[in-house]
Subunit: 248 residues, 2 copies
Amino acid sequence: MPISIIPIHMEKDVNTNDDLIELILSSINKERQKLHDNDILVITHKIISKAEGRLIPLNNIRSSKRARSIAIRHDKDPRIVEQILRESKRIVKIEHNIIIVETKHGFVCANAGVDQSNINSNSVLSLPLNPDISATKIRVKIKRRIGRKIAVIITDTFGRPFREGQVNVAIGVSGLKPIIDYRGLRDTFGKELKVTEIAIADEIASAAELVMNKFSLIPIAIIRGFIYKNKNGSAKELIRKRKNDLFR
Amino acid sequence: MPISIIPIHMEKDVNTNDDLIELILSSINKERQKLHDNDILVITHKIISKAEGRLIPLNNIRSSKRARSIAIRHDKDPRIVEQILRESKRIVKIEHNIIIVETKHGFVCANAGVDQSNINSNSVLSLPLNPDISATKIRVKIKRRIGRKIAVIITDTFGRPFREGQVNVAIGVSGLKPIIDYRGLRDTFGKELKVTEIAIADEIASAAELVMNKFSLIPIAIIRGFIYKNKNGSAKELIRKRKNDLFR
């Protein structure tokens, strides 16, 4: 059976304390779409971060000495560096004016996900404080309002080592196991599969990005027809532990 | 418009010198599908590698001293290590019994893509020698046989630093620009986008993997409805140069 990736426009920009569920459902409605059981709702973190008040005016950020020192050396706005440091557990690498950090969630990415694009003010947007919880809230509220049992994936676009270009990945997951573990099972020739774990939540995030054009307001996609385990899952399962990481 | 990901079964195992185009087209036919103009045909490298004679019996591989030395230290079959070394430009890292190399193509991945799963013999399968050319041959031959103008992406599943689980990525591309470059353009609020380059070929590869279940023989997916630039492209554009890589 084919899988569908259905784009959902959202005309309105999201503001702090907006009723996000209402906005999501009415946007789906306007596309003449309906959520089905087992649909996966993929949402870019930006609208969630905005609703959760993670948009911070640069003028409200007082930069620390450390932030200013990094900012001067790497030609950056010290207030943005300050916000990056506040979102980070540690700096992994600073080079070519790119600040790679481990965020408080554990994600390794540039600038701790702190972002200035698609923002209608002189502000910066940070990732949700706990994207798994944000995803769960959306999943549970949708179940309550319209009775549909869905999974929710919250995404951001991350760069990666070795390969050019960014890809969309899962930073929050609810109602779906983010990794399929084929280890110990047998391939089509009866041979044991040794190391195949597939990060389906990241692949679903990437699939959704294909309809999320950066210039039209498409922050949401519905993935329909993908068979998955309707179990509790967490984006934390996608984070490699430092001690198991060959490149940290 | 929604994008569709259409799985294509292939019942027959592929052997060296099989007419791959015939196999692909008859498999699509059996699914009662047809290729449309602008479809993207995503193909796992395994069937291409097999058709190109890249399946090598282990007994035909004579291991070098270097391969044997690595094999002993890391508890591996010296013949497999030999094949990995033959496919590699250099070793990037060996740790936790994982050999990360830069392949002759330039891909950074485990074991140079040399693989023993889904193979019906005591052999190893290597990546196509030039996956871009393999993709182009398929694209051109399909145009010639059925008149459809499509793009072709050849894939493999790669692990990645920082995140658990493997994802499907593009190792060969024809008829499509693998990266969309948004830099210099403006976001929905008129602000200049600074660093957004999206690796759509990898995202398309990941989307296709969602229908490529490891236990049923689904080596092909058709991606339909994705708007792309019908230009020449190469998977080499996805390879970050060593000098620009923060993690090599």
